[in-house]
């Protein structure tokens, strides 16, 4: 246990920020999705680090990570399928060209 907990937390924050940056500024939807995966991974690191340092006898942290895996996989599967489907009709998956949220 020579590594302080805060190192993990800062690492996770950095990874999360990178992922969020990709989400905010990449034009390509798949790159955005990769950013989301980075964010989820950062969360996982946090969960495991908290488990290891704060409650090593209670495995809830690890179990949560498995659920995050599940969510990440489901998100990736549906998200990518959406992109394939959008690409089929629009021939683009650039996020800034898909602005149907605009009224």
């Amino acid at each position: 246990m020579t590594v302080p907990l805060s190192w993990y937390l800062i690492f996770a924050t950095a990874l999360f920020s990178l992922g969020f940056f990709a989400v905010l500024s990449r034009r390509n939807a798949v790159a955005v999705l990769m950013g989301v995966e980075l964010m989820l991974n950062a969360v996982n690191v946090n969960l495991v680090a908290f488990w290891r340092y704060l409650t090593p006898s209670d495995l809830s942290g690890q179990i949560f990570v498995v659920f995050v895996f599940t969510v990440a996989a489901a998100e990736a599967a549906v998200g990518l399928a959406l992109m394939i489907s959008i690409y089929r009709t629009r021939k683009t998956i650039n996020v800034d060209e898909i602005n149907d949220l605009n009224l």
Partner: protein, 163 residues
């Protein structure tokens, strides 16, 4: 000491790969960098003595999700080509906000007093995880399968080529 050096090496590697994911213009390269990130995080899980999760991380993220992403890239031709710009107009703004966010959050996290428990990880961790799934966490466990089912159905509906 050794642990710290190892952590720094792995974390630096992972963050570098993460940076690569974010900046790579070529999507396939970004996906490969992403695989690097996943690998680094698996290594961190080993450092944290979560061996089951480390393996699951590789199996699911590299074996499944990264593959899925690569497949999806291939399915939309032109996605990986050289495009006009990889970033949208707000990227510099987002970058600034992100740095601010990172700075503030890590400052807070460092200041936050966490009561670290000096216990070792249980030997039968995997067993406990297994009984957690069917015990305390049974509802999320079943919901996870429903979620997977729904994702499967939805994704098939979306991705299927209708003739």
């Amino acid at each position: 000491m050794v642990g710290q050096i190892l952590f720094i090496i792995i974390a630096a590697f992972t963050l570098l790969m993460g940076l690569g994911t974010v900046v790579a213009r070529n999507l396939f390269h970004a996906a490969l960098f992403l695989v690097g990130v996943f690998f680094g995080i698996a290594a961190l899980f080993i450092l944290l003595e979560a061996e089951f999760l480390a393996m699951a991380q590789i199996i699911i993220y590299i074996g499944a999700i990264a593959t899925l992403i690569v497949f999806a890239i291939m399915l939309s031709k032109g996605m990986m080509g050289r495009e006009a710009g990889a970033y949208n107009k707000q990227w510099y703004f987002a970058g600034g906000a992100m740095i601010l966010f990172f700075g503030l959050l890590s400052w807070l996290l460092v200041k936050m007093p966490f009561a670290a428990a000096n216990a070792s990880a249980p030997d039968d961790a995997i067993q406990q995880i297994g009984s957690g799934f069917v015990g305390h966490y049974v509802v999320p466990f079943e919901v996870a399968s429903v979620l997977l089912l729904v994702a499967l159905v939805g994704a098939i509906m979306l991705a299927r080529e209708r003739n």
